[in-house]
Amino acid sequence: MWKNLPLFPDQASSIAIQVDGLYAFLIAVSAFFTLLIFALIFVFAVKFRKAAHPKAEQIEGSLPLELTWTLIPLGISMIFFAWGALIYFQQARPPRGAMEVYGVGKQWMWKFEHETGQREINSLHVPLGRDVRVILSSQDVIHSFYVPAFRVKTDALPGRYTSTWFRPTKVGTYHLFCAEYCGTEHSGMIGEVVVMEPVAYQAWLAAGGASASLASNGKELFTQLGCATCHRTDTQGRGPNLVGVYGKPVQLNDGRTVMADENYIRESITNPQAKIVAGFQPIMPTFQGQVTEESLGALVSYVKSLSQPQQKAEGGAPAVATSTSN
């Protein structure tokens, strides 16, 4: 409906229509009040101009009026708040079974890696109708992953993961912008998100020449970096067994319980002393500075795969989706 108006970007995701709907409502209400104020000022200023109304009437005020024009805007505001919050909840919670892509922002480009190992620079290919979760981080300063056509934006931070998700609803190529000022070529950090029909997307993945999935890269790193020597799958390890850890609560030695999400796994690699699992010694060395963002992504992906019922396929074959989108 809006596509022929040059005032809106494409509506290319499942959330875009909802965001535009709220926007239209906000515009309507704002236009109403703006025009009301403009009109009242105009009418009063003309009707009560000095020439026509030489003696001003000294009116103190009116409590009922004050209450009315306090409570009505408050009520309308609460509608804006609630509606916006509902959309935000959706934007914040990716559905189960979303396919995952790791994105790294760096001065001044975007690097993406699909779970199947396919890598891209400044472009992101995604399948139509599939839930896609992008796990973001930065190699240097704060960037921001912004796709106007999807109405999606999340900062990419150094030292930490953030994430966002979308379900593309329209085939096409859309702008990807960096939306957090990051230095000289901030405005050059432009990429494109390419939404493809699912079949075309599978073909693109197969043609990509990815040698190994992200998780299997992670498994190799896990061995190379010596993680496997302590994090064994039996009870003899000096470090906790990582099978089944991701996505579950973890009891720490100071009594806290934390959820083992991506940030927990990442922090355990770069700053292991921050949280010690109950019953273990604080002996893990830090790998800060020894692993790149891409390697971190691979390791996290590997640890996550240890909690999945089906192992990811190794080798060149693209992974079959473990569940369909909602």
Partner: protein, 545 residues
């Protein structure tokens, strides 16, 4: 018979000593106000020059006028100069300094020497900033986000941060002076509920200045420490947290925007009452709304961080509180509009600016409501939508209020009237130019054009060209007053004590006022904006010769 009569020129604050020393070592709040007026006007044109270069660059999609690094410095310096060295001092340091002692019936502010010190601190801060800009500038954005500002930027971050740090003390001292003056130096009979709303607004502003400014001072100090000594506060590579910076920065910088609007609202209350010739509608509500804005303004800072990695629950709380802070502003707009009802409205220039303020501030404020809505903010934050929003409230709002106040009190400050025809033309040019500059930016933002972009995709060009065209009109609207105000000081018609027929103690003393403001301390027996009994005032209060 002809006798030679020697006329003695009436003593005013302007002719009470002509030497440079009498100005640079003055303790007179009126002279300090003029010193500030000259300084901030100069900074306004510096910031405006940077804006002009930005808008010229944005005429074409390619970054072809200046290099990327230069462009980044331009928008950074435009923001820093306009926020810290123009808007924050503008109304308080010029009109507040000049008018508050007069409005409360006092000889001066509570601490005249501290007032002078505040100007020197402002100047020293400005010098640090200007020298850093001349030596190569700073390119971090006025928001100094880390770790870019502490580790990756190769520009004069510390020099500019120091300039802002020093200027911050100017703010704090001004706030201190106003609060004590309003509490302790009101003339007999001038109760709190008889105070002009201009004083209430400045009281609220001063609370924010005193409580908030120390936070930005410490934050900038931490940035400097991390940059110089590599102490890890904000840089994750050193064990710091970049989001912590944002919390600290916005904890001040959000209330700062209320420092930048409340004084302007105070001006509007004075102008609307005078040119409707009646008391304001709902005095207590307008007064309390100022205080509410100051208090609630401290509770909403993380609405600048909805996509920065804060939790969903934090985002919800800050969104809700942001709606609460919008309400008192709306209440004021309704009260000003209602003040016009059954008034006797005149269309002098200050009133035209006030009309412009009410309309444009309404639009700017409503677009703030868009931004407070989480679902929308995700799409439009960090885009030109935000740029348009804050220019609507700060330029369409505050700068227009400043112009209203400048025109309103110019006759009092200089004893001269400015040329009304030219002034009305300028007001019209400002209103038209402003809307043409910034309305297209709302559309650009929703279409997805991010802010701080040196080059942009070609589909954004048409709206950018419109915006630049508007900026040229706006610029003319700002340059004209420079010319006619200066002209009026020599050739303007004499104003007399009360050219607007306004109620207020400042109108009961000559224009320009004598150094000690009043012949005798006035005794106030009337309510605020007592337009009903206006003719009787002049007999009650002893006016200076």
């Amino acid at each position: 018979m002809a006798t030679a009569v020697q006329t003695v020129e009436r003593e005013t604050y302007l002719n009470n000593g002509y030497s440079l020393q009498s100005w640079l070592l003055t303790r007179d709040h009126k002279r300090i106000a003029i010193l500030y007026l000259i300084s901030i006007t100069a900074m306004f044109f510096v910031g405006g020059f940077f804006a002009m270069l930005i808008r010229l660059e944005l005429l074409t999609p390619a970054g072809d006028l200046v290099t990327s690094d230069t462009y980044n410095k331009l928008f950074t310096m435009h923001g820093i100069v306009m926020v810290f060295f123009f808007l924050i001092p503008s109304v308080p340091a010029v009109l507040g300094n000049f008018c508050i002692p007069l409005m409360v019936g006092a000889k001066d502010l509570a601490f005249p020497r501290i007032n002078l010190l505040s100007w020197y601190l402002y100047i020293i801060g400005a010098i640090f900033a200007l020298v850093s800009m001349t030596l190569g500038g700073v390119d971090t954005g006025w928001t100094f986000y880390t770790p870019f500002s502490t580790h990756y930027s190769n520009t004069h971050v510390v020099g500019v941060a120091l300039g802002i740090f020093i200027a911050g003390f100017s703010s704090i001292l001004t706030g201190l002076n106003f609060i004590v003056t309003i509490h302790r130096m009101r003339a007999p009979g001038l109760t709190w509920t008889r105070l002009p709303l201009f004083c209430w607004s400045h009281y609220a502003t001063s609370i924010i200045m005193i409580l908030g400014t120390p936070v930005i001072a410490i934050t900038l100090l931490l940035v400097a420490l991390e940059r110089l000594l590599h102490i890890g506060v904000f840089n994750p590579a050193l064990g710091g947290d970049p989001v912590l910076f944002q919390h600290l920065f916005w904890f001040y910088s959000h209330p700062a925007v209320y420092i930048m609007i409340l004084p302007g609202m105070g001006v509007i209350s004075e102008v609307v009452t005078c040119f409707s010739h009646k008391r304001v509608f709902g005095y207590e509500f307008v007064a309390l709304a100022s205080i509410a804005i100051a208090v609630l303004g401290f509770l909403v800072w993380a609405h600048h961080m909805f996509v920065a990695g804060i939790s969903v629950y934090a985002a919800l709380v800050f969104s809700l509180l942001s709606y609460f802070v919008a309400i008192p502003s709306a209440v004021k707009v309704f009260n000003w509009t209602a003040t016009l009802y059954k008034g006797s409205v005149r269309y002098d220039t200050p009133m035209l600016y006030a009309f412009g303020f009410i309309g444009l501030f309404t639009m700017g404020g409503l677009t703030g409501v868009f931004l407070a809505s989480l679902g929308i903010d995700v799409h439009v934050t960090d885009t030109y939508f935000v740029v348009a929003h804050f220019h609507y409230v700060m330029v369409g709002g505050m700068v227009m209020a400043y112009m209203a106040g400048l025109h309103f009190w110019w006759p009092k400050m200089t004893g001269k009237l400015y040329p009304e025809g030219w002034a009305k033309l300028s007001a019209l040019l400002v209103f038209v130019g402003f809307n043409l500059t910034f309305f297209p930016q709302f559309v650009l933002g929703y279409m997805g054009m991010p802010r701080r972009y040196h080059a942009y995709p070609p589909e954004f060009q048409v709206l950018n060209v419109m915006s630049t065209a508007g900026a040229s009109v706006l610029a003319v609207g700002y340059v004209l007053p420079m010319i006619y105000f200066v002209w009026s000081m020599r050739y303007g018609e004499d104003a007399g004590p009360n050219p607007w027929n306004a109620v207020g103690l400042e109108w009961m003393t000559p224009s320009p006022p004598p150094t000690y403001n009043f012949e005798e301390t006035p005794i106030v027996t009337w309510e605020a904006y007592d337009y009903e009994h206006l003719p009787e005032h002049d007999e009650e209060v002893a006016v200076g010769h």
